[in-house]
Symmetry: C2
Subunit: 327 residues, 2 copies
Amino acid sequence: MQENLGERRIIEIIRECLELMPDMYPPFGDDVSAVDIGNGLLAVIKTDMLVASTDVPPQMTLRQAARKAVVMNISDLAAKGVKPLAVLASLGLPRSLGEEQIRQIGLGLNEGAREYGAYVLGGDTNEAPDIIIDCHVLGVCRKETLITRSGAKPGDILATTGTFGKTAAGLRIFLQGLTAPEQIAKPLRESVLMPKARLKEGLAMAETGGVSASIDSSDGLAWSIYELSRASGVGFTIEKLPIAEEAEKFAELHNLDPKELCLYGGEEYELVVAVKPEKWRMVESAVESVGGRLIRIGVATPDRRLLLKWRGEAIPIEPRGWEHFKS
Amino acid sequence: MQENLGERRIIEIIRECLELMPDMYPPFGDDVSAVDIGNGLLAVIKTDMLVASTDVPPQMTLRQAARKAVVMNISDLAAKGVKPLAVLASLGLPRSLGEEQIRQIGLGLNEGAREYGAYVLGGDTNEAPDIIIDCHVLGVCRKETLITRSGAKPGDILATTGTFGKTAAGLRIFLQGLTAPEQIAKPLRESVLMPKARLKEGLAMAETGGVSASIDSSDGLAWSIYELSRASGVGFTIEKLPIAEEAEKFAELHNLDPKELCLYGGEEYELVVAVKPEKWRMVESAVESVGGRLIRIGVATPDRRLLLKWRGEAIPIEPRGWEHFKS
């Protein structure tokens, strides 16, 4: 029975069973789904489930877990340039939970939504053998501002809204007991416990019309680039790996490969975007005007290979990331 | 630790943690949530989670369970008079599931959506210790057509779109091994395995403007009436219990109380509505014009008691129904 299909094969099987909505936009498998509601508007929806036993390290509080369950959904809307309006939360709860634990979940849900201007409007409560927090986010946007994964063209600039590797290092602290001086360890732990969605950045970029493709990096930088490549039919070369300073130091301390931490981590919520070169300055300054930054890390190429320039060599980037049912 | 809070207390605790959206309509706790999207329109959202170990009898196939997970959400939109457009499905799946089982889930999801004109647009897949099918439905409606739970006035006619008691009897066949002649047993089993949402009826009623309050009956007839009473500030007297013929025969066979089956069952998806008396004929014929029926079962009263006229007596209806964590 233990077929270990892997999350991507499971999604493929289910997709084969579904009659597709005509004129579906964005296509099945993008960060969000949407419905044309007339007047040039899309109602944009997203769902992403958090399961305590597989998604929550023991050091994370229930409040942090509930907050993250909201934030990880908002991150997908951020990648598309869509403002979140409403959150629903379906909860599966073991009978053993007490009032205070339920309250912590409620506080975390509210926190995650209000940080980004959205409200929790309702949800559902069920008995379940594990803590399940399944959030759904709704936003509305003008059809022309929604950024899919599929518009990148050769020559576009590959960029990210931040650095990578902190959560991969943080998880090694939490799950493998690795240590580091507090000055390094603290931001690494924080990156796991209190992830941030790049909503301001995503909304600002969408307004410029200069982003040709965008994805959130929750499955890791390498996998995000692979998905952009697959959807857009281009390749990418990373010329400068956007590794976080703390992750680099942590790698040195423990003799880990910094490339591994940066490329194949996951549970990070930066946006990975392709920017039209002639619009680069406009997009960059739009992000800076809301207090963010846009890091130029590479370029889209006509052939579909994924390469990393590293110490004078061009190394292939593997299309792998964190996958449920396989990890 | 085993505090056994009950679903309603859990919802209360969480609600206390939430900052409410200004001008929230419908209010927190109605069948659906909604966001004003301008142009007189509401984007209406609903989520309801199905957990295999507590919600699915062993005789129900995975395909039926997945279909039901969609239908039970669509039923809530039906009660508000809102057409469903899109479904997302978050799945929690044990590693042990094989390809064919996943396919059955996919087929059931598609079936549930397509039966009511909606499409499954996406979702999420996770590893979980139990099969969890958490669906979210999106619809759009004109603000003035949405029917809340709170508009019933004394003198309004209480009505349902069908009879009650079949699922309560069917669950006794499945879970307690009670038997009945096939002619009776078959519709009882079917009512559990293949529930129907009263979408056509709900949409037709909403267009008339004659329904003052509406709820779906998934927590049982008594609980539905209690909720309408609480939200509208009226009482209800049931003059004629809408018990299904098969449920009545089943009650006779096994010496069960037919009132119990009819009032306190649950997992039924009829609509329970209050109709303005002067609009009764219009609402009734709107429902009949789409092939449904509207059964007049009682009346809304100024004092807030819930009563059942039964063999010459007026019996109090208890505000109870099926509740997670308590049953």
